[in-house]
Amino acid sequence: MTARRSIQAVLAMVVAAIALAPLVLPGDSGLHLVNLILIWSIFAVGFDLVFGIAGMLSFGHAAMFGTGAYALTLLTTRMGWDFLPALGAAGILGGLLALVFSFFAMRAAGLFFALLTLALAQLIYILAGSKLRDLTGGVDGLGGVPRPDLFGVDFYDDGNFYFFLLGMFVLALAVAGVLRLSPFGQALRAVKANDVRAEQIGFNVQRLRQAVFAVSGIYAGISGALLASLIFYVSPQMLHWTTSGDVVIMVLLGGMGTLFGPILGVALFEVLREGLSTVTPYWYGILGLVFILCTIFMPHGLAGLAQQLRQRFGAGGRR
């Protein structure tokens, strides 16, 4: 147990080092990168509650992510809402949409759940690109997404906005950490391990799954809204299935079912995106290769790798 705890501590320190890097290292590109990592981490941590804890693979989280982004944009620019209430509304809408998704998608189990979430998300994508063009600006998207207006701080400065994102990130991480340890989180692990047995013990399996799906929808909605705010722009690309795929890749690269793993995955993904896309236009294909190799050889991701190394070379040595 102590070995596991020390790995946890190492991972936490790595995550803290990434999140706090802008405090020591000046530079605009690094700052932008960390801001992106913080936002995507909120998304990934929420996604892992569904994927890593409850064992449900969703390929439709882009729908909640994009819906949150559009909700924030429309509420602030068209309805004149303040940033924070609009951000809350983005989260709530993401959660509600997730509930609707779970209502349909949970009629099928296992892999077909993944297909259904994908199909439903695609429906939202088509809606936003065509039918709701007046609202969403169609494929052109919408610009002019605002940033928060609090305490007289100029959040339009990326350096200041970083602190806002850091706060949201810590909050999201804390809530997820509590949820994982709570009876709710334990029940979800039971469902993942053996849903029939969990049902027999007396858990309402469907209700539990729906609840965690909705929670991750809230995470997705908020992170989507924050991304729109960071880049001042929202487009149907955020609803696209590649966005759903990206978050799956991130979580798997980092280590599903761990608290800090997904964040490492996000960091690796974003660094790869930044690093490779300047060197080669084919970075997404290379990412695919990396992803395939990691799926085969490193099923527990970066976080699991630490554990594997520890087992092999660590002080323990004994199996």
Binding site: L115, L118, G245, G288, L289, T295
Partner: protein
């Protein structure tokens, strides 16, 4: 009349794809996300062959072979090591292949739309019951029916089909009988990939060949597979025809609602019969 022809041709085209998907699922319990990418690859190979040789028919022969070889490699190198793990990993692997195949296509053929014209033999419309229909559509119907029929004969009447059905049902038992299940798995994956590419070649003259084509078709395939019943290949035939007809009728009367009609069908199925409209208990592959 032309609505029926278009609907049938779309339905049979969808079935070519859904059949591969269903076969692979029945045998390997893997949902091949990259199926649409193989379909796209088939279309691009067809384009390339037409550019080089000027013949549509050579492409029709070559593309499935190439895709089957790629499929066999995918199964052998990537999927085989992870069969023991949770099915999610296999799904994720095939997702990784989408990225790689799409990137490969982008490197070879670039981002521009490509166009393949139907073979000269089939470029003229023909009269059918008093209305004029494109002969290429009729070819798709005939060809699709032929391929589907041979697939069923192969599965139901031949020794290979028997082994595949047996291995889908109980791989361990088949293995004890001295048959290499892993070889069957590779073969089935290759056949599925070949069918996808065949669909791509057949579809190539109908639509612009572009990078996104694989994904738009895979969603339709998933809908077919779910509506037809999971892993149920006979259900897939009916579901493919149903969706093909729905789309064709939709295009005629309410073009902007076509996608919604398809999704409506999916959602109605899920509410009424989550196990699939055409599935009977205990019937697979």
């Amino acid at each position: 009349m032309s609505t029926i022809v278009i609907g049938l041709s779309m339905g049979l085209l969808l079935f070519l794809l859904a059949a591969g998907l269903t076969l692979i699922f029945g045998m390997l319990r893997v949902i091949n996300f990259a199926h649409g990418s193989l379909y796209m690859l088939g279309a691009y190979i067809s384009y390339q062959v037409v550019q080089l040789t000027g013949s549509f028919w050579i492409g029709l022969a070559i593309a499935p072979v190439v895709a089957a070889a790629i499929g066999a490699l995918m199964e052998r190198l990537a999927l085989r090591p992870v069969y023991d793990r949770d099915h999610v990993y296999q799904l994720l692997l095939t997702f990784g292949f989408i990225l790689v195949i799409e990137e490969g296509v982008r490197i070879f053929w670039g981002l521009d739309y490509k166009q393949v014209s139907p073979p000269a033999l089939l470029s003229q419309p023909v009269e059918l019951f008093g209305s004029s229909v494109p002969s290429y559509r009729l070819f798709i119907i005939g060809f699709g029916a032929l391929v589907s029929a041979s697939l069923f004969v192969m599965l139901d009447r031949t020794r290979y089909g028997m082994v595949i059905r047996a291995a889908s049902g109980d791989p361990d038992m088949v293995r004890t009988l001295g048959i290499s299940v892993s070889r069957i798995r590779t073969a089935v994956f290759a056949i599925g990939a070949g069918l996808a590419a065949l669909g791509g070649v057949v579809a190539a003259p109908l639509l612009p060949i572009e990078l996104g084509m694989g994904f738009s078709v895979i969603i339709d395939c998933f809908i077919v597979v779910i509506v037809g019943g999971l892993g149920n290949i006979r259900g897939a035939v009916l579901a493919a025809l149903l969706i093909g007809m729905t789309r064709a009728i939709g295009y005629t009367y309410a073009p902007s609602w076509v996608d919604f009609l398809t999704f409506l069908l999916l959602i109605a199925t899920l509410i009424l019969r989550p196990e699939g409209l055409f599935s009977r208990k205990g019937r697979t592959a």
